[in-house]
C-alpha cells in the first residue's frame, strides 16, 4: 500500500456544479495520475503530473482540469459537472518512470444528477 488516499470517497452532485477531488500521497512519488473507470472502458487516463506544477493531458481530458502545488497533493476539478462524468475516479502514483509500476488509491464514486 503506497499510502494514497482520495477524498471524498463518495459524492453526489448536480449538473453544472464544480467538483474537486483530492488525491494525497505520503510516498514522495514524482508522478501522479487521474483515471476514470467506466463499464466496458477499463481505466482511461484523464490528466497526469510529472512534478509540482507540471501536468499534461490524457485521453479523456475535456471538462477536467488539474493542479499540483505540492508533491503530495493532486487535485482533479470538474469545472461544470455533467451526467457523462458520473464514474469512479482513481488516483495513482509512481516514484520511478511513469511507465513503471503504479500504485492506486481506493477510488472516488461520483454521481452527477
Amino acid at each position: 500500500d503506497a499510502g494514497i488516499t482520495q477524498s471524498p470517497r463518495h459524492k453526489v452532485t448536480e449538473t453544472g456544479t464544480p467538483v474537486t477531488l483530492r488525491c494525497h500521497q505520503t510516498e514522495n512519488h514524482r508522478y501522479m495520475y487521474w483515471y476514470r473507470q467506466d463499464p466496458g472502458h477499463g481505466l482511461r487516463l484523464i490528466h497526469y503530473s510529472y512534478g509540482v506544477k507540471d501536468t499534461d493531458k490524457g485521453e479523456v481530458s475535456d471538462g477536467y482540469s488539474v493542479s499540483r502545488s505540492k508533491t503530495e497533493d493532486f487535485l482533479l476539478t470538474l469545472e461544470s459537472a455533467t451526467s457523462s462524468q458520473t464514474s469512479v475516479y482513481f488516483c495513482a502514483t509512481t516514484g520511478t518512470g511513469g511507465v513503471e509500476t503504479q500504485y492506486f488509491g481506493p477510488g472516488t464514486r461520483l454521481l452527477v444528477l
Binding site: 466496458g40 477499463g42 497526469y48 482513481f90 492506486f104
Partner: protein, 111 residues
C-alpha cells in the same frame, strides 16, 4: 483508444483449476503489466514484464509476452476462491510517462 484488449471478458472456473487470460495490444511497448482489482477497490499491481523478456513467474502467476504477436497471457495456477477479481493488462508506452489499460477480464472462481 485502448491499447490493451483482454480476452475473455469473463471467465468462470472451479477452485484448483488454472485460469488463463490474454491481452493484445497495438503498438510498441516498453513493458506490459498485469493488475488485479477486487470489487469496489483500487487496482493492485501483480507483475511487470519488459519488452525484452518472454516469460516471468511470481508465485502462482506466470506471464508470457510475445512482442511479434503483440500479445501477452497471464496464467494463474491452482486458482482459489480468493482469486475472484477483475484482471487488467496495461502497456507502458515508450517515450511517455503513461500506461494504457485494457478493459479487463472478470474472473470468478467457485469453491
Amino acid at each position: 483508444s485502448q491499447q490493451g484488449e483482454e480476452d475473455p471478458q469473463a471467465l468462470s472456473i472451479q477452485e484448483g483449476e488454472n485460469a488463463t487470460m490474454n491481452c493484445s495490444y497495438k503498438t510498441s511497448i516498453n513493458n506490459l503489466q498485469w493488475y488485479r482489482q477486487n470489487s469496489g477497490r483500487g487496482l493492485v499491481h501483480l507483475i511487470l514484464i519488459r519488452s525484452n523478456e518472454r516469460e516471468k513467474h511470481s508465485g502462482r502467476l506466470r506471464v508470457t509476452l510475445d512482442t511479434s504477436k503483440k500479445s501477452s497471457s497471464l496464467l494463474i495456477t491452482a486458482s482459489r476462491a480468493a482469486d475472484t477479481a477483475s484482471y487488467f493488462c496495461a502497456v507502458g508506452v515508450p517515450n511517455t510517462d503513461k500506461l494504457i489499460f485494457g478493459t479487463g477480464t472478470r474472473l470468478q472462481v467457485f469453491p
